[in-house]
Amino acid sequence: MSGLIPHIEVPLIPADSISMLALTIFFMPIITFILLFFTGKHILASIRSWLATGVMGVMFVLSVYLHISIKGEHLSRWIWFEIGTIKFTTSMLLNNYSTTMMVIATFVSFMVHLYSVQYMKERRNHSKYFPYLALFVSSMLGIILSDNLLITFIFWELVGLASFLLIGFWYEKDTSAAAAKKAFLYNKFADLAFVIAIMILYAMYGTTEISILKELVNLSVTYQAVLAVPIFAGLAIWFATVGKSAQFPLYVWLPDAMAGPTPVSALLHAATMVAAGVFLLLKTSFLLIDWVPNLITIFGCVTALLAALQAIRTFDSKKVLAFSTVSQLGYMMMAVGVGADDAAFFHLATHAFFKACLFLSVGAVIHAMHHMQSHQFDHGQYKELDALDMRLMGGFRKKMPITFAAYSVSYAALIGLPFFSGFLSKDAILGALYDRAVVSGSWSWLIVAVAFTTVGLTAFYMTRQMILIFFGEFRLLKTDASYKKYFDHIVESEWLINIPLILLGAMSFWFFFSLNPLHAQTGWWMKDAFVSGTHHEFHIFIPIVASLFTLGAIAIAVQKYKTIDAFVDTRLTLTRVFANNYFIEKGITFLFVQPVFMISNMCMATDDFINRAIHAKAYFFIVVAQLADVFDRWVIDGLVHFVAGFIRYIGSFFRSYLKGNIQGYFYFTLIAFALMLLWLGWYL
């Protein structure tokens, strides 16, 4: 079957100095993890957090250096283990693409660490928080650097583990524990597809090295040999990313994952977990051939739309952002589907910065809300307060100007206003979708239409969130005026929280990515044949139309929420559908969980049945044994008893002459001996 494809040797390549540097960066968080995990409780909390943060800062600086100094590709490959002649290799690929991702990941992680130092200080500072963060970052770096699917899978799962630990960080809360389990299981379900992809690729091509696979797949495409392999492998890899990058229908774990600490959410949504899926898909885009890309586009489109619709309905401030992440990931997937890898990666990068910033600034507000709650608690009037509920917020603009500024900058980037990074990347994706629709026509136009609609929806729900949190009056007072004195005390957060906000907010401006604020074609990102080297057409009407959608949506949102300062009910139609995650979870419970338990019970019954059968067999033997016993006792034993009884009678006759005295026995022996001698004499 695979005979048509020539065999390609997998050469071993020692690491050069640049690769060694990359390895050093990779191992730094691992060492931090080990160090802090085992000594965690014995060192001061501040030392612990600053150590982790410092390491992350150094990693960021080194990553930037790596990114600047790298030229071309650096591939290094060495043997992990071997079974006789079969070699399992591991490899690391450094190119523009991976180092850029490294810079993004380390930068966002560094910011999140800085933020966490302050943020976690006032919470129960669990000694495991920073080691888990380090584990998270190192696994992400593993995914970025590895050029081997098997190794990628290892880090892929470790990202899942780290997210499990961090989402369930406040394990005492039942919601946290449940959300952690849910996140891990949804991801695990999708990961089965990854295992299947590895199985298929290894069985057919004999290796899991991505760069070798790329050649092999290209060869198979050229030779037209068994295209089913790349198709199914690509499909499987895509399904794996459906879990990790939260695509329809598995995205339901992501909003729940908000149960973890806010900085973790920022990290999860920006540079590590969800980005991993898109990144992997970009890395293995050579596998996406035939009808698979169309499938990816359609699912991306559905995800983008459904998540945006849900974001409109949500009151939980973090969940709005979570749904927005899902929606933006849908955009990235659409871009991957139409082959616009550059645009997808571009959006991944810009999104990483502004989404982290959004999370952290909303986190700052929540932080302030928590403060009020804990003050309340100090005064002995503890009341259950949902610090995340946007309906209880409002008017934070004047109280926390820096947070507000950071939020609005990244807000602008997310909804795609000109002069902001999101504008550039989103337009690149929309342009790619348009180009594709021009070529393939028919249903592709629907995709374009949905994509533009979602741009409008994004603007709507973000404007809504902004108004609810930062404008109007502080609505908590309407329900409970006792919070008044605490609200007056709210001030801007500490600098350790503000600095990451400012830095991340600054990254939302256009000039980091392209000097031309209106389109990215001339910017370094899209121009230098950065990822795929393909040329992109620029259509001037796309940003114009997108901006019109955006502005229209903002106008509607402002109109709708302007006057709202009461406890708002922003119910739309289809409420129940939205609130229930479109019944996806119910569907999964109905289709999978319940049958699993049914099968479990059936299997248990089978076990019982097997046991019963064995018992029945045992009882049968026991009955037979009883019968045999009766026969033994009355027939065979009876005979034996008769013989024995007879002999016993004779014996007891002679025994009566013995007194138990040992010398008596001697006499008898002597007499017997004498008798024997007599008999011998007589006989002779």
Partner: protein
């Protein structure tokens, strides 16, 4: 010394048993030291064997492939016209036994440490435990099937008493069930051994007797047998030397297992029946669906250390027997039956995982998860690819470590509260943090998290099985695909347990005395941490083991394919 190192390894515990006799009084403190010391010595010897082993490619089941080979004639029995029964004391080590020996030394040591707190009739307990320490390595090292069977059966005796005397509430039931189940398997195996014995001859030993006649070679003898000249000769030597049995020339052409035999029973040849008997015999031990119901009972009732040994090594003897005896001796039949074997594997994986999901007894859940994980071994075997078979061996090795850890952990909880029911606990993590950390590690290791040894094994089995499905169509493609669901199920039951027992606010059932819930002691920590360390070590650096056993596994595959 070096030439008898294997004998020393096996019979070292006998010295320990003797030592136990000389210890006076009922002081359990001194007995336990004997067990720990002896198993520590065994461990040291095994590590020496492991490091000294050189991975080189030799034909599987050839004398060259064995290091530290010990072979001596034990006894010969003239059976008249049937020939001569020759039994050898034949030990040797190759890549396959190497991994198992290392595993059993580690697990037996861990078990000895876990027996630390046995106070009831400690002398007897430790004596029986040391007997177990003889028969288990013996089983892995014996290459004469007579000797193998001897050790194999001898394992039952201490096990029976260890469960039956030191077990839980239903210990009598469990031990009898265990004994009868395994005995059934042993009988099937014994029947096959007898058939093997009467239908083969040992030309190498016959050579020794005719060596005075110059010019006679092994080929001459083999030709003589095959041409019918030497049949029914009282000087034919039969033996159960595994190396000789692996050579198809050494079967009488007209014997029960010979190539010309046309006798069929219920439509299948004797060879097929023999393979089925061996398969069932070892599958009971493994255990696989539907022969697994002894295991949950035995595990639940057994004391901690015995559970550790039971799950850690005894199950592996089933898998080892399949790889060492059933497949090499009946390659054709194994190849033909691969579909059914794959089905058994997949069914075991999923079935046991499903049952584990609804268990409320922690120990029972882990017992079922053991069954599920052993299913992977069967699946890897069915495909008979180097990756799959190596994965199967690695799975046995890693599951030995992981299940030992898991049962030790259950033992820790049971020691404290005498309650293992999952719903009776909540939020244990805040009361027993160190314990919870290790439980989390063990659970994740068992569900196949990468970075732990179980992952390497499972991924190797999967790619091996899939490769087998694609290349040779040994099993259908859907089997490995469906089997991946086992990963999801095991993640489900472990995480669900974690959520129920360890997360949330701390609370316990009212029957549990909360004051007894103390975190791990230093000695418990040492044992548990080192086991988890090993699991992670073998997960990150599988080269430690796989590079050593790789050539042997490759030899196994090529042997199997050539024979088929």
């Amino acid at each position: 010394m070096a030439t008898h190192i294997l004998s020393i390894l096996i019979f070292l515990p006998l010295l320990g048993v003797l030592g136990l006799l000389f210890i006076q009084g009922d002081d359990h403190r001194s007995y336990r030291w004997v067990s720990v010391l002896v198993t520590a010595l065994q461990l040291a010897l095994s590590i020496y064997l492991f490091t000294a082993f050189k991975p080189e490619y030799f034909q599987f089941h050839s004398y060259d492939s064995l290091v530290y080979m010990e072979k001596a004639n034990w006894f010969q029995l003239s059976l008249g016209n049937l020939g001569i029964l020759s039994v050898n004391y034949f030990l040797g080590i190759d890549g396959l036994s190497l991994s198992m020996i290392l595993l059993s030394a580690i697990v037996l040591f861990a078990g000895a440490c876990a027996s630390w707190n046995i106070t009831k009739q400690a002398k007897g307990y430790h004596a029986l435990y040391l007997l177990l320490c003889i028969s288990i390595p013996g089983c892995f090292l014996a290459l004469d099937l007579f000797l193998f069977f001897l050790f194999f059966e001898f394992m039952l005796l201490p096990m029976f008493f260890l469960i039956g005397i030191w077990g839980g509430v239903r210990r009598e039931y469990a031990s009898i069930k265990f004994f009868l189940y395994t005995l059934l398997g042993s009988i099937l195996i014994l029947i096959v051994f007898i058939v093997l014995f009467i239908s083969t001859y040992n030309p190498a030993e016959m050579m020794e007797y005719v060596s005075s006649n110059a010019g006679v070679t092994i080929q001459h003898i083999q030709e003589g047998i095959h041409s019918g000249e030497l049949i029914n000769n009282p000087s034919i030597i039969h033996s159960l030397d595994l190396i000789q049995l692996s050579n198809p020339v050494n079967y009488f052409p007209n014997g029960l297992l010979g190539e010309h035999n046309t006798l069929t029973v219920f439509g299948y040849s004797i060879r097929t029946w023999c393979f089925i008997a061996l398969l069932v015999g070892f599958l009971i031990k493994l255990p696989a669906f539907p022969f697994h119901t002894w295991l949950p009972d035995a595990h639940v009732e057994a004391p901690t250390a015995v559970s550790v040994v039971l799950a850690g090594i005894l199950l592996k003897i089933g898998g080892y027997g399949l790889i060492r005896i059933a497949w090499p001796l009946f390659p054709q039949e194994a190849g033909d039956a691969s579909w059914w074997i794959g089905l058994i594997g997949v069914t075991t994986i999923l079935y046991a995982a499903f049952v584990a999901l609804i268990q409320t007894d922690l120990k029972k859940m882990i017992a079922y998860s053991s069954v599920s994980h052993m299913g992977f071994v069967v699946l890897g075997l069915a495909a008979a690819k180097t990756e799959g078979i190596t994965g199967a061996v690695y799975q046995m090795f890693s599951h030995g470590l992981i299940s030992a850890l898991l049962f030790l952990l259950v033992g820790v909880l049971y020691d404290r509260t005498h309650d293992r029911m999952i719903p009776n606990y909540r939020g244990l993590i805040s009361k027993m943090p160190a314990y919870s950390v290790i439980v989390t590690i063990a659970f994740f290791a068992s569900l196949g998290l990468p970075g732990m040894s179980g992952f390497i094994a499972e991924i190797l089995i999967f790619i091996g099985a899939f490769k087998g499905a694609i290349d040779t169509a040994a099993i259908p493609v859907w089997m490995p695909l469906v089997a991946t669901l086992g990963l999801l199920l095991s993640a489900s039951y472990y995480l669900w347990t974690l959520q129920r027992m360890f997360f949330g606010k701390f609370s316990t059932h009212m029957s549990i005395d909360r004051n007894t819930l103390k975190d791990l002691t230093v000695s418990e920590k040492a044992l548990l941490y080192s086991l988890s360390g090993l699991i992670i070590l073998f997960g990150l650096f599988p080269a430690i083991l796989l590079n050593k056993i790789g050539p042997s596994m490759e030899a196994w595959t090529s042997f199997f394919i050539n024979m088929k």
